[in-house]
C-alpha cells in the first residue's frame, strides 16, 4: 500500500483536477491518521478472501427489449438552456485546436 505523504495526496488531487492549499493538506493528513486506524479494523477481520467484493446489495438483472415508441426529444431551446455561451442556436466553445 502506498505510504500516505503530502506528495501522494497532491498527486491524487492533481488527477482529480483540483488543487488544495497547504493548510487543507494538513487537515487531510490529520483526517487520514484517524481514517488509517479505522481502516486497519477491516484488516483485522478474518476470512475476507472467502467473500467476493459486493458491488450491489442484491442481484437486479434487467433484460428486456424496449418497445420502439416514438418520443419527443428536447427542443432546441431546452437543450441550450444550460449552455453558458451560445450563438445561432448552437453551443459556442473556445477554440482549442490550431
Amino acid at each position: 500500500m502506498k505510504t500516505i505523504t503530502k506528495e501522494v495526496l497532491q498527486d491524487a488531487a492533481n488527477r482529480l483536477l483540483f488543487t488544495m492549499s497547504d493548510e487543507q493538506y494538513d487537515t487531510l493528513m490529520g483526517e487520514f491518521k484517524i481514517l488509517t486506524k479505522q481502516m486497519a479494523i477491516i484488516g483485522e477481520i478474518p476470512d475476507l478472501g472467502n467473500y467476493e467484493p459486493m458491488t450491489f446489495p442484491f442481484d437486479c438483472t434487467t433484460s428486456y427489449l424496449r418497445e420502439d415508441v416514438p418520443v419527443a426529444p428536447l427542443t432546441r431551446e431546452e437543450a441550450l438552456k444550460n449552455a453558458g455561451n451560445k450563438q445561432d442556436g448552437q453551443i459556442k466553445l473556445p477554440k482549442v485546436v490550431g
Binding site: M1, Q24, L28, F32, G43, I45, D47, P57, F58
Partner: protein, 489 residues
C-alpha cells in the same frame, strides 16, 4: 393549530370536504417556509407552486396526496427549477427533466413548494457543508445544535410544520439520522423499491430515495405512490407494489425483534437507555418477542471505515462529470484541463475535495486490493451477518443515534465504540439494501431522541406494521415544533 398542522389523513379529509383548498395550503406552507430561520431552503418555488395549486379545484377522494404541499431535497432533478445539490459547482443549473419521484408526485397532484438545503452533494452528515452555510435544528432556537444531514433542509421542513412530508436521499443514514434529531419518521425502503432516475448519484451501490413524515401512515401511503419499476432506472425492482398501510392496525404479538447486543452496549446516554429499555418493555407488553443477539464486534467497528472507503471511491468516480464543461459554470482556461481545474477548484468546498482525495487514494492501483476491494468483501460479510439475524427475526430494533442532536462545537472520539457502532450502524441498511425506519422515542433537554426498525428486503408492509405499533405506544405521531408532545416513553 392551523390546517397545516393536521395529519396527512386529516388534511386529505379537509380537502375532500372542501374545508380548505390546495391553494390555501400552498400559500400557508410558503408563508411558513419564508418565516423559517433555519436556512432550510435553496429555492422557494412560489410562482410555480401557486400556479399549480390554483389548477387543483376538484378534490380526488381516493388520492391521499391530492393538493398536499411538499418539499424536495435539492439533489432531485426538477424541470425548470434550479437544482444545485447545495454545491457551487452546480450554481445556475436548471434541469430539463423531472426525476421519476418528482414526476410521480406531480401526477399525484402534490404541490412542490421548495427545494431544500443539504450537505454539499449529499456527502456529509451534519447539515453544515452546503454552499448556503449551516442548517439549524428548529428544536433549538439558539441555533447551537445540528439537525444532521445530509437531508437537513428536508428535515427542517417537516419538523417545523411547513409541509407534511419532504423527499430526501439516504446513502449512509442521511434521512434516518436527521429524522432522529428532528423527532420525525424517516423512511428508507429497500434498495430498488423507489426509482432513482433523476437523483444526483453519490454512491449508487448505497444510494436510496427516502423521505420524512410526521406519522407512519403518511410514510406508508407515500411509498404506495413512489414505489415501482421504472425503465429509466435499471436497478429499480420489478416486484409488484403493495398496499403498504394494509397491516398497520394489526397486532404485533409473536413478532420476533432482535436488538444487537454490542450496539446496545455501546450506548452511554442514560436518558436514551432508560427510554429505549422502556420501549422494549412496551413492545413485550404488545406480545413481541425481544431477543438480544450478538454480532461480531470487530465487524461492527468496521462499519464506518467500510462505508467511507466504498462511498468516497464511488463518489470520486461519479462526480467526474462536474467539470465546468458537461456540468458547472465555465470559469475560463486556455486548455480543457485548465477549464476543468478552474471549475472544480472554485466549485467544490474543501470537505468535498478531501472526500474525493480519500476515494482516489483507495482506488490507486497499489491500494485497490487492500482498501477498496477489501472494503467491498467486508461489506459482503457484514450483509451476511445482518441477513443471518433477520432469518430468525422479523426485525432489528436499535436506538437510531447515540444521543440527541450534537452541538456544532461538540466532537466525538472517532475511534470509540460509541462512535463506530452506535453513531454509524444505520448504514447496515444501505450495505444490505434493507428497509429501515426511524421514529421519535422521546426527549432529552427538549431535543428529540429516536429509534430505528429494519426488516428483510421488500418487507415494508411488515416494517410499517411494527412502526405503527411503536407509534401508538410512543404517542408521538404528528410531532412537530408547532405541535409539541411529551410522549409516553
Amino acid at each position: 393549530m392551523d390546517m397545516l398542522d393536521l395529519s396527512l389523513a386529516e388534511l386529505h379529509q379537509a380537502l375532500v370536504e372542501k374545508k380548505t383548498t390546495p391553494l390555501e395550503l400552498t400559500k400557508e406552507a410558503i408563508a411558513r417556509a419564508k418565516a423559517n430561520s433555519d436556512n432550510a431552503f435553496e429555492y422557494i418555488n412560489e410562482e410555480g407552486a401557486l400556479a399549480f395549486a390554483a389548477t387543483l379545484t376538484e378534490p380526488e377522494a381516493d388520492n391521499p396526496l391530492w393538493g398536499i404541499p411538499y418539499v424536495a431535497k435539492d439533489n432531485f432533478s426538477t424541470k425548470g427549477i434550479p437544482t444545485t445539490a447545495s454545491s457551487n459547482i452546480l450554481n445556475g443549473y436548471v434541469p430539463v427533466f423531472d426525476a421519476t419521484v418528482i414526476q410521480k408526485l406531480k401526477d399525484a397532484k402534490a404541490v412542490m413548494i421548495a427545494k431544500a438545503t443539504m450537505d454539499e452533494l449529499a456527502m456529509g452528515g451534519t447539515g453544515t457543508t452546503g454552499h448556503l452555510g449551516i442548517t439549524y435544528n428548529p428544536y433549538d432556537p439558539s441555533h447551537q445544535h445540528e439537525i444532521g444531514g445530509s437531508s437537513c433542509g428536508s428535515a427542517v421542513s417537516v419538523a417545523d410544520g411547513i409541509v407534511p412530508f419532504a423527499l430526501g436521499s439516504d446513502t449512509g443514514d442521511s434521512v434516518r439520522k436527521p429524522a432522529s434529531f428532528a423527532g420525525l419518521v424517516g423512511t428508507k425502503p429497500t434498495w430498488g423499491r423507489i426509482s432513482r432516475y433523476g437523483l444526483f448519484p453519490f454512491a449508487p451501490s448505497l444510494d436510496h430515495v427516502g423521505y420524512f413524515t410526521r406519522d407512519v401512515y403518511s410514510a406508508a401511503v407515500l411509498l404506495d405512490v413512489l414505489a415501482g419499476r421504472d425503465e429509466n432506472d435499471s436497478t429499480s425492482s420489478t416486484r409488484p407494489v403493495e398496499k403498504y398501510e394494509s397491516k398497520m392496525n394489526e397486532p404485533i404479538a409473536g413478532k420476533k425483534i432482535a436488538v444487537i447486543q454490542e450496539i446496545y452496549d455501546s450506548l452511554a446516554d442514560e436518558t436514551l437507555l432508560k427510554a429505549f429499555n422502556h420501549s422494549l418493555d412496551v413492545l413485550k407488553e404488545q406480545g413481541a418477542i425481544i431477543d438480544f443477539v450478538s454480532m461480531d464486534s470487530t465487524l461492527l467497528e468496521s462499519l464506518y471505515p467500510t462505508y467511507m472507503v466504498i462511498s468516497c471511491a464511488e463518489a470520486t468516480s461519479n462526480d467526474a462529470n462536474l467539470d465546468g464543461i458537461k456540468f458547472g459554470p465555465y470559469r475560463g482556461g486556455k486548455t480543457y484541463q485548465e477549464v476543468m481545474f478552474n471549475a472544480r477548484n472554485e466549485g467544490f468546498s474543501e470537505l468535498i475535495k478531501r472526500r474525493f482525495v480519500i476515494g482516489s487514494y483507495c482506488l490507486m492501483r497499489e491500494n485497490q486490493e487492500e482498501l477498496f476491494l477489501r472494503a467491498q468483501r467486508n461489506r459482503a460479510k457484514i450483509v451476511e451477518s445482518v441477513n443471518a439475524i433477520l432469518k430468525d427475526h422479523d426485525a432489528i430494533y436499535l436506538a437510531a443515534a447515540p444521543s440527541v442532536a450534537p452541538r456544532f462545537d461538540q466532537s466525538s472520539d472517532r475511534l470509540s465504540d460509541e462512535y463506530l457502532m452506535a453513531d454509524n450502524h444505520l448504514c447496515l441498511g444501505n450495505f444490505a439494501g434493507l428497509p429501515s425506519i426511524t421514529l421519535p422515542l422521546g426527549f432529552e433537554n427538549g431535543l428529540p431522541l429516536g429509534v430505528n426498525f429494519m426488516t428483510g428486503a421488500f418487507q415494508e408492509t411488515l416494517l410499517f406494521q411494527l412502526a405503527a405499533a411503536f407509534e401508538r405506544a410512543s404517542g408521538l405521531a404528528e410531532l412537530s415544533v408547532r405541535n409539541p408532545k411529551e410522549g409516553n416513553l
